[in-house]
C-alpha cells in the first residue's frame, strides 16, 4: 500500500492492465508524446510503443468510433477524450453505436471499450471547459458509468472496467488528479455497482461521487461540531447504481442530500432522489435535497465560478435546516 495521487493511480492501472493483456491499448489526443493533457498516460509511450499508445488527430467522433470498431474486432481499447466537453462531438458513436450494438444485433456483438475522460469545473476555464456531464451518460442504457473519487477507486475501477464486456464511460475529475490517497499495490479490483460507505452516521445521509465527495466529507466533519451525525456514501458508479446502499442508509437516517457537480435540473441527483422516493418514501422525515451546480453556463470569474458550484458550506446549511 503506497500513498499516490489519483493521476498516478490511473497510470498504474493502465500499466498493469497493458502488462496483463496484450489486447489493451490506449488512443487519444496527446496521450503519447505529450504524455496526456493531464499527464495520466505519462511514460507509457516509452514502455509500450506507438502501437499501443496512439496519438490521434482531433477527431473525437472517429476516435471513439474506431475504439468501438477495434473492440468489435477483439481488442480492448481505451479511448481518452481530452475532456468530456470535447466528448460531445463523439456522442453519436457513444449513444447510437457503442450503447446499441449489443442489443440491436440480438446479443451477437459486444463492445468492450473504455472511454476515459476528465470533467468538472474549478479552474476558471470558462463555460466550454467546465462541464460535468455524467447525467448524459447515465441517461443512456447500454453504457456503464464509473466516476471514482479516490485514488484507490480510480485504480480499482479502471482495472475492472478493462475486464468488462460492455462499454464503460470512465469519468475522472480535473481537480482530483493531484489528490493523494492509499492505493493497494498490484491487483486491486473494485467491483462494478458497489457504492462505498465512507462515513457512518445516524442523522442524515449525504450521497455523492467524484469531487463533491470531498465537499460531503468536509461538511460531515463540520456538522459533527454541531452535533449532527452525517452518513456519507460515495456512489463510485452511476450505472450500475448501488441504490440499495442509499436506501438502507435513508431508512436509518430519514433524511437524504444528494451532492453533485452536474447541473441541478435533470442531473444524476434527480434520478437518485426519485429512486429514494420510490423505495423509501415512508422512511423520509424531510424532502430529499439536491445540491448541485446552478442551471447555467459556468462563469470565468473566480468568485462567480465558486458561486455557481456546490460547496461544503451549502451542504452544512441544508443539513442544519433539515434537522
Amino acid at each position: 500500500m503506497a500513498e499516490i495521487s489519483y493521476r498516478e493511480a490511473l497510470n498504474q492501472a493502465l500499466r498493469e492492465e497493458m502488462d496483463r493483456d496484450e489486447r489493451v491499448f490506449i488512443m487519444g489526443e496527446e496521450v503519447g508524446y505529450f504524455g496526456g493533457a493531464f499527464k495520466v498516460t505519462d511514460g507509457l509511450l516509452a514502455v509500450y510503443g506507438e502501437k499501443r499508445v496512439r496519438d490521434t488527430p482531433i477527431s473525437e467522433l472517429t476516435i471513439v468510433g474506431a475504439g468501438v470498431g477495434a473492440a468489435m474486432g477483439g481488442l480492448r481499447p481505451i479511448v481518452e477524450l481530452m475532456t468530456v466537453n470535447f466528448g460531445l462531438l463523439a456522442m453519436d458513436q457513444i449513444v447510437n453505436h457503442a450503447a446499441k450494438i449489443r442489443y440491436m444485433f440480438g446479443g451477437k456483438a459486444k463492445v468492450p471499450l473504455v472511454i476515459r475522460t476528465p470533467q468538472g469545473a474549478g479552474h476558471q476555464l470558462g463555460a466550454q471547459h467546465s462541464q460535468s456531464l455524467e447525467a448524459y451518460f447515465l441517461h443512456c442504457p447500454g453504457v456503464r458509468v464509473a466516476i471514482p473519487a479516490t485514488p484507490a477507486d480510480a485504480k480499482g475501477l479502471l482495472k475492472s472496467a478493462l475486464r468488462q464486456e460492455d462499454p464503460v464511460i470512465f469519468l475522472e475529475h480535473e481537480s482530483l488528479y493531484s489528490v493523494k490517497g492509499e492505493v493497494p499495490d498490484g491487483e486491486h479490483l473494485v467491483p462494478f455497482g458497489k457504492a462505498n460507505l465512507v462515513r457512518e452516521g445516524k442523522d442524515v445521509t449525504i450521497v455523492s461521487y467524484s469531487k463533491c465527495l470531498y465537499d460531503a466529507i468536509h461538511a460531515a466533519e463540520a456538522l459533527e461540531n454541531d452535533g449532527i451525525d452525517a452518513e456519507v456514501i460515495d456512489l463510485r458508479m452511476l450505472n450500475p447504481l448501488d441504490i440499495g446502499m442509499v436506501i438502507e442508509s435513508v431508512k436509518k437516517t430519514g433524511k437524504a442530500i444528494v451532492v453533485y457537480e452536474g447541473w441541478k435540473t435533470g442531473g444524476a441527483g434527480a434520478e437518485i432522489a426519485a429512486q429514494i422516493y420510490e423505495s423509501a418514501f415512508d422512511h423520509l422525515d424531510a424532502p430529499v435535497e439536491r445540491i448541485a451546480s446552478l442551471d447555467q453556463p459556468i462563469p470565468y470569474n473566480k468568485h462567480l465560478e465558486k458561486a455557481a458550484l456546490p460547496s461544503p458550506g451549502e451542504i452544512v446549511r441544508v443539513a442544519e435546516r433539515m434537522m
Binding site: P57, T62, V68, G69, H97, R102, F105, K108, K110
Partner: protein, 334 residues
C-alpha cells in the same frame, strides 16, 4: 479516364472469373433482387413494418465487391444492407425473418431491416446513422493491423454520407494509419430526395480520395465485373499493406429511399434510362453472348432462387415471435 481504365479492368475480371464463379455472382444478384421484390410485397401486406430500404438496382455493387473478398474479410454497411448481408453469405430466410421481427431473425428480431449482423460471416452490421459505420470500419481495420492479421475491411455507404464529418475523419485516420479499409461509396445520386449535386461540393465523389492521399476510382456500379475488378485492386493493395482506398460506384436505386417514398423528385424518363442499365440483365446478356452460357442454366438458377425466396417467406412467417420476457436481454453482457 477512370471509366475507360475500369472497362479494361472489367474485361480482365471477366477473364479471371471462371464460369462457376460467374454463375455464383449471377445467382447472388438474382437472389438479392427477388428478395427485395418479395420484401416490398411483404411490406405492402403488413408482414414487414418500420423502415425498409430496398437495394434493387444496386446489386452489382455489393455482389461485385464482396466477390473480391475472402470469407474472413469484414463488411460493414448501412440501413440499406439486405444485399450486402446476403452477398456476404447470409441465408435469405434469416434475413427475411429479421424483417418480420421474428426470434429466428439474424438479429433475433431486435434489429429489423436496418440492423442485420452476423459475426461468423463477418458481416459487421447495418448502421442507420448516415456515416456512422465508417469510424467502425477504421476501428476494425485497426484491430486487424494491431493483430498483424491479413483480413481487410470493406465499408459501404451512400453518397449521402460524403458531407458527414465522419467520412472525412475516417478517411484521414485510415490514411494516416495506413489501415486495410476499402471505402465503397454507392453513389445513387440521391441522399433520400436530395440530389447529390445539391449536397456535395465535389462533382466526382472519388476525388475526395485525393486530399487524403489514397487511391480513388469511379466505377460503373451497374456492371458487377467492373466493381469486382476495382475492389480486387483495392483489396490487393490493402493486403499488401498499402492502406485504404476509396471507390465510387455509380449506381441507381430502382425504388424509393424507403418503402414510404413515392419518388416524386426524379423523372420517369431518368428512371427508364437507368432501368435499361439493369445490372442483372446486363450480366445475363454477357453470360449468354460473351461466355456462351446456355440459357437453361440461367433459368435453372432463377427457378432455384424463386424457391429459396419462397422458403424464406415461409420460414419467416412460421417462425415464433421473440419472447416478451426477453425484452431486456442483451442490453448488457451479464
Amino acid at each position: 479516364m477512370a471509366l475507360e481504365r475500369d472497362k479494361l479492368v472489367a474485361q480482365h475480371a471477366m477473364l479471371n472469373l471462371d464460369e462457376t464463379q460467374l454463375l455464383d455472382v449471377y445467382r447472388k444478384m438474382v437472389t438479392i433482387r427477388r428478395f427485395e421484390e418479395k420484401a416490398a410485397e411483404m411490406y405492402t401486406r403488413g408482414k414487414i413494418t418500420g423502415f425498409c430500404h430496398l437495394y434493387a438496382g444496386e446489386e452489382a455493387v455489393a455482389v461485385g465487391a464482396i466477390q473480391a473478398l475472402y470469407d474472413k474479410d469484414y463488411v460493414l454497411s448501412t440501413y440499406r444492407e439486405h444485399g450486402h448481408c446476403i452477398a456476404k453469405g447470409a441465408e435469405p430466410r434469416v434475413v427475411m425473418a429479421e424483417l418480420f421481427g421474428k426470434a429466428t431473425g439474424i438479429s433475433h428480431g431486435r434489429g429489423g431491416s436496418m440492423h442485420l449482423f452476423d459475426p461468423i460471416l463477418r458481416f459487421m452490421g447495418g448502421y442507420a446513422i448516415v456515416g456512422g459505420g465508417l469510424p467502425l470500419a477504421v476501428g476494425l481495420g485497426l484491430s486487424v493491423a494491431y493483430k498483424e492479421e491479413q483480413e481487410i475491411v470493406a465499408c459501404f455507404f451512400g453518397d449521402g454520407a460524403l458531407p458527414q464529418g465522419a467520412f472525412h475523419e475516417s478517411l484521414n485516420l485510415a490514411a494516416l494509419w495506413n489501415l486495410p479499409v476499402i471505402f465503397i461509396c454507392e453513389n445513387n445520386f440521391y441522399g433520400m430526395g436530395t440530389l447529390v449535386a445539391n449536397a456535395v461540393s465535389q462533382e466526382h465523389l472519388y476525388k475526395f480520395a485525393e486530399p487524403y492521399k489514397i487511391p480513388g476510382v469511379r466505377v460503373d456500379g451497374m456492371d458487377v465485373l467492373e466493381v469486382y475488378g476495382a475492389v480486387m485492386e483495392a483489396a490487393a493493395r490493402a493486403r499488401e499493406g498499402d492502406g485504404p482506398s476509396l471507390i465510387e460506384a455509380v449506381t441507381y436505386r430502382f425504388r424509393g429511399h424507403s418503402m414510404s417514398d413515392p419518388v416524386e423528385y426524379r423523372s420517369k424518363r431518368e428512371e427508364r434510362i437507368w432501368l435499361e442499365r439493369d445490372p442483372i440483365k446486363n450480366l445475363r446478356k454477357k453470360l449468354l453472348t460473351e461466355r456462351n452460357v446456355a440459357e437453361p442454366r440461367l433459368k435453372e438458377i432463377e427457378a432455384d432462387v424463386e424457391a429459396v425466396i419462397d422458403d424464406a417467406v415461409r420460414f419467416a412467417d412460421e417462425s415464433p415471435e421473440p419472447s416478451i420476457e426477453d425484452v431486456s436481454k442483451h442490453v448488457y453482457a451479464d
